[in-house]
């Protein structure tokens, strides 16, 4: 009994150590001590691209140390509202930036990048999906986000847009929605279920097809006329102690160099 307790405690300790490591969502881009420190609060979908942008910016401005804090836009907005030491806020939707702006927390917001929805299919293509039209075939298993999640809301909008087109037919959207087997709480859960092949297709952002996922799924593009494009705004936080450095970082994100890095991660540049 005592031995099993020891083992159990050891496992608990191990698990919590691993969990603690996995939880650290902030990353520092600097190795040398510098005089100016700025904290970037950015939407979770910007994790890969902003990590690289921070590194690139730091090379140009070695005196500025950047710490990224990635999380859901809604949570970031709440953190800033409750006095978290943020210098820049980059949101994945207009709604949360508006909230921060209306509360007087941030300066002028600019849309720096856009994101679009795609349909992803597991590599084995168990549902025999050749085109978007196949999604309406009876018996196909489709996964998308709940209507309360922005991506889920946009997916339903895109489906309704397609139903307006004679190419798809008026019943298209409803037939596809009738094939939905689950309504996930976030985009990553949809990616996970498609990746495991448990569903035949799922609606996600183009940027969710990261390098780690790309080999496990096939991407079906939704044509732009039907697609709902998500806009990402960025702004300097008013309480920033280093407003000049924060503004300089925002300018870098909006520059050709910044946009180039974002485009590499499949975001749509605003100033092409």
């Amino acid at each position: 009994m005592k031995r099993s307790l020891h083992l159990f405690l050891l496992l608990v300790a191990l698990c919590s150590t691993v969990a603690a490591c996995g939880n650290s969502s902030s990353s520092s881009a600097a190795s040398t001590p510098s005089s100016i420190k700025i904290n970037i609060f950015a939407a979770a979908s910007l994790t890969e691209s902003f990590t690289q942008i921070a590194a690139a910016y730091h090379q140009l401005h070695p005196d500025v140390t950047i710490t990224n804090n990635f999380n859901g836009s809604q949570l970031l907005e709440q953190q800033i509202a409750n006095g978290a030491p943020a210098d820049v806020f980059a949101s994945a939707d207009m709604a949360n930036m508006m909230k921060a702006s209306n509360a007087g927390l941030v300066g002028d917001a600019k849309v720096f990048v856009k994101n679009r929805l795609v349909v992803i299919i597991p590599v084995g293509n168990p549902g025999q999906i050749m085109s978007l039209k196949d999604l309406a075939r009876k018996g196909v298993k489709i996964d998308l986000e709940a209507d309360t999640v922005p991506a889920g809301h946009y997916s339903r909008q895109a489906l309704m847009n397609m139903s307006q087109s004679p190419d798809f037919g008026a019943n298209y959207g409803n037939s596809v929605l009738a094939n939905v087997v689950s309504q996930e709480e976030n985009v990553k859960a949809v990616v996970q279920k498609v990746q495991l092949g448990e569903v035949d297709a799922g609606f996600v952002y183009r940027t969710d097809v990261t390098a780690a996922v790309a080999s496990k799924v096939t991407v079906l593009d939704i044509p732009d006329p039907f697609n709902v494009i998500a806009q990402y705004p960025i702004a300097v936080v008013k309480s920033s102690a280093n407003a000049a450095a924060a503004q300089s970082f925002v300018d870098y994100v909006l520059s050709m160099a910044g946009e180039g890095i974002l485009a590499k991660y499949h975001f749509i540049a605003v100033n092409p």
Binding site: R3, F8, V181, S182, Q183, E184, E185, Q192, E198
Partner: protein, 267 residues
Amino acid sequence: MGKKWSYRSAWSARVLVGVLAGTFFLFLGIPLAALLIREPPAMLWISIQQPEVFQALQLSIVTTFFSTLLTVLFGLPVAYVLARTRLPGRRVLEILVTMPTVLPPVVAGVALLITFGRFGLVGRYLSPLGITLPFTTAAVVMAQIFVASPFFVNTARAGLEQLDQRYEAAAYTLRASPLYTFRRVVLPLIRPALLSGAGLAWARALGELGATITFAGNFPGITETMPIAVYTAAESDLESAVALSVVLMAVSFGVLLALRVGRIRAE
């Protein structure tokens, strides 16, 4: 040791216990009370009458009923084996039975998916037979059993380990069969442990979210249980999420109280 001193020590021990226990009750109680205070009772009544809330509550009650039933059916023999036999590898089995409580529920859900999903280790042999488990109500029950059963098995095992085996020996000397002995001697004696274990497992199953949403998904009427409904509601409307949680708390409080009263009557 003087008499006066021991009086004082008994008194200070009592104060210490009181302060520690009181602090702990407040720590547990205040957050729960905060949920209650936030929601006027009328709001609760309105929220429980909404068809989708009622549907989620109904699904939660039905699925946890079956998961608790199956947990007791399969868990009691497991508890017996662990408590009474000297199987080689028994210690490892003991840990195995406890593992699901350590695992983050989402990981438990992934484990179930890669086992019983249509390309899973077991699932790939089931799907040619026309059996698919993910996204079904059966998957909800499986996720609940996976996560909640350790609470029952470990409590039942502890009950069996503490039971004086001379009662059984006495029954055997009177030529009672093993099954009769178990049913008429052992079961009544470990009844309190079984009831509290089943209560714990049921409560854990009722609150189950992570494994369920990962393995069974979320679809109203089929896999959307109360905790998933709360989670979905919290995404857009915190007030209704709080109202749903209070409904969930009220139901579980009622059932656990009934179990407790039943147990006291039985004793």
